[in-house]
Symmetry: C2
Subunit: 463 residues, 2 copies
């Protein structure tokens, strides 16, 4: 009957130590979101597949986890359906997808953005716009698992929808500053604007190929300018246009200098100039408020997702190479696909698992975040145990995480337990302590001992 | 392209107000767990179906949500397999289950107990025993949705494994007292012991039918003594034995009186007497510590799950009828099924969704728990907006949740927004305020206004 237990590949258990550290990280992020006036939202793990399918491109559709219908999932099947299934391996592709759609109505959410859009449309009558929400929940993708890439991972999204005000972009910049400031991670915030990218495409005579151009430019960091140019050529963009792109990608100088130079280059593009104006306004808010962030206007930043229409953001850790740890942007029509056009919004998503990895690598978790129990009471049984239980209640009532070893085991075993659990204080109430009504408090790290009157214990431990 | 968006039946969106209240509830529960020295654990939403299947009875197996294998899920299928699928509706049952098992390797977790047992066995080398953990995560069951019963709901479990000490049962009693005390819910804690139930079965000559007897007794509250007796008869238990059971079920008096009476009735059952001794020890701890809880020894309490072997718990709200809101017990062999026998543990599970319903019905959520943003800054645009942004940064830096209306809209519209969002304070920085460097703070509920110097605003708002 015994099975060797394991978990599905790409998923993880989080041990108490990992959970305490993750909790510290999530609490920090959530606290900043709340301080900035965003309210929490949660959506179900399962969405109807009709909500999810077609929102993440063909590749994304393949990565959706589908849930088998309950009960008789083959209800209504005909012999023809059976043939499709029997032929599965040979035919593959479309027939198999159609079959999956017949036996699965639901899927696990792939991100928090599409469920948010679905929520806004479904609940539009109850929502007060502009709607400011954050959402911290796991998402699931049937990606090939590899180092740093999981099939279940957390996203922390913060969005405001229902206003075109650039104060929202500014606010997100401040949230990035505060979250990474509070977590102790040095970061660079890269900014760009999709309208400027469109202006570039328009200027080089390929406004129709805006998507191909941004997808290619997005890879600049990873594959280099040569390969980006090759990809552009393969999409039917002429050599002259590609040559026109090069000086723009290689632009340098301060953010203000870059904007000024771009203004000349794409002067003929109305949309492009609108993008420039948006960035000038955003930078003016940042300049007025001041910022400790390293903020860089990066015209090669494109981001893959096609629903962005204005400012785009990306955050990288300076002291640990791991790719982007946070990103997002302005979208003008996220809810259109669900029948509610013209709702402009802007949001960013913090990649919790990568942020965790950065913090671990740079040793940024405070020691406190690894401590579950602060006090272990040694158990001597009998009347000493009863006295310890009373003191235990006293410190617990004062909110100090504490416990008693559940059995009067050998002292050595109990002390070992305290050490292995990383419990910083041990309280001893033996025969002598019971007689004098003074507890012995041992600080495990230094080995130092103090004698504390019973009725002063919680007060003493709070210092 | 527009779809009318909806979510799968039995699942829920949690709006900001619901989320803030749920967060208040979960934070309270988690804080108590931590204060009592339990450490957090999380396991993946998906488990291998081999981990879940066969752990919840035949009914439970049917309620597992199964996840379709990624890629070609019909890989290796033969024409015979296709026949099984084509015949689905007619044959149903076993062939269909076998088919589901071939196309689904993973399922969503059904509770937190089996994943906990799986975790303990899988990570036994790293765990310090006794292992004290809590776990707050959603679970999924393909139950028929109805009022108060969802397909996705949260459980809050707290367990200690690796010791038989009854101090653990005592600690869980105190946790129940503290959680419901902190939440403001008046409850009755019902206690019983599986060993006593076994003793009863043994005494009436049906030790072999212990399971049938406990399952039937468990329904006493719901179906009444007559129907319980009919069910017992249908299981082959003789009239004499059933008659022998009746005085036990109708036992009354104080907990001490009940224990004393039972001691006489089941004196011949060694296991039964062990159960009595356990309850006496547990009640002695409770008596020594004192408790504000209403604690009742209820010999008709059985609880359905068959893995309990000692004390069992159940909590009911006194002022709102909704069934059990918390329950659990001692299990001596939870991990045996995964190849690790003899690990005794005890735990309880708080039913978050029912507790939420009780709190809502009894109006127990503090007003504070419904407030996201405390201050809205009215936006007048221009230099007033810049001054407001500076003040906004001041109060945010002080940790006060606050925001500025993103556009210089009409005053009436901005005030309406504050009202609809339930924002308690509005700060006005108009032309006069800018000149005098004093902000006008309006308390929305009373309509009262105060004038506060710019540099004292966060200090003023913290009172």
């Amino acid at each position: 009957m015994a099975q060797k237990p394991s978990i599905p590949k790409g998923t993880r258990d989080f041990s108490p130590l990992e959970m305490m550290r993750r909790t510290y990280m999530f609490d920090t992020i959530r606290r900043v979101f709340r301080t900035y006036g965003y309210a929490p939202l949660e959506t179900p793990a399962m969405e109807n597949l009709s909500t999810l399918t077609g929102k993440y491109g063909e590749e994304g559709d393949k990565l959706l986890f589908k849930i088998l219908n309950s009960g008789d999932f083959t209800r209504g099947f005909t012999p023809d359906d059976a043939k499709v299934i029997a032929a599965g391996t040979e035919t593959g592709g479309a027939p198999l997808n159609a079959m999956a759609a017949r036996i699965c109505e639901k899927g696990l959410r792939y991100d928090l953005t599409v469920p948010f859009a679905r929520y806004v449309v479904q609940h539009q009558a109850e929502i007060t716009f502009p709607f400011r929400r954050y959402q911290v929940q796991p998402v699931w993708r049937a990606d090939r698992p590899q180092k740093g890439r999981y099939r279940e991972f957390y996203q922390c999204d913060v969005d405001v929808i229902g206003t075109r005000s650039l104060l929202c972009e500014f606010e997100l910049v401040k949230i990035v500053e505060r979250v990474f400031g509070d977590l102790g991670i040095n970061v660079t915030l890269k900014l760009n604007n999709r309208k400027i990218l469109y202006g570039i495409a328009e200027t080089i005579g390929h406004a129709d190929k805006m998507t191909d151009i941004t997808v290619a430019i997005d890879k600049l960091d990873k594959i280099g300018i040569g390969n980006v140019e090759a990809e552009l050529a393969s999409k039917g963009i002429g050599q002259e246009a590609i040559a026109g792109l090069r000086p723009i990608l290689e632009l340098s100088g301060t953010n203000t200098e870059k904007l000024a130079r771009m203004k000349e280059v794409i002067a003929s593009s109305e949309t492009g100039m609108l993008g420039i104006a948006e960035m000038e306004e955003l930078f003016s808010y940042i300049a007025a408020a001041g910022s400790t962030l390293d903020i860089e206007l990066d015209l090669s930043l494109a981001r893959g997702l096609n629903y962005y229409t204005g400012a785009i953001f990306e955050v990288k850790a300076k002291d640990h190479a791991i790719g982007s740890i946070c990103g997002g942007g302005r979208y003008d029509d996220l809810t259109g696909i669900f029948g509610m056009p013209g709702m402009s919004g802007v949001g960013i998503s913090f990649g919790a698992d990568r942020i965790y990895d950065v913090m671990l690598a740079l040793n940024l978790f405070p020691e406190e975040a690894g401590i579950a129990t602060r006090i272990l009471f040694i158990n001597f049984g009998g009347p000493e145990q009863l006295a310890s239980l009373r003191l235990l209640q006293q410190v617990r009532d004062a909110g100090i995480p504490s416990e008693i070893y559940p059995e009067p085991a050998k002292m050595k075993k109990q002390m070992e337990y305290a050490n292995r659990r990383g419990i910083p204080f041990v309280v001893i109430v033996g025969e002598d302590e019971l007689a004098s009504r003074h507890a012995t408090v041992k600080e495990m790290h230094s080995g130092e001992q103090q004698t504390v009157p019973f009725d002063k214990l919680s007060e003493y431990m709070q210092h």
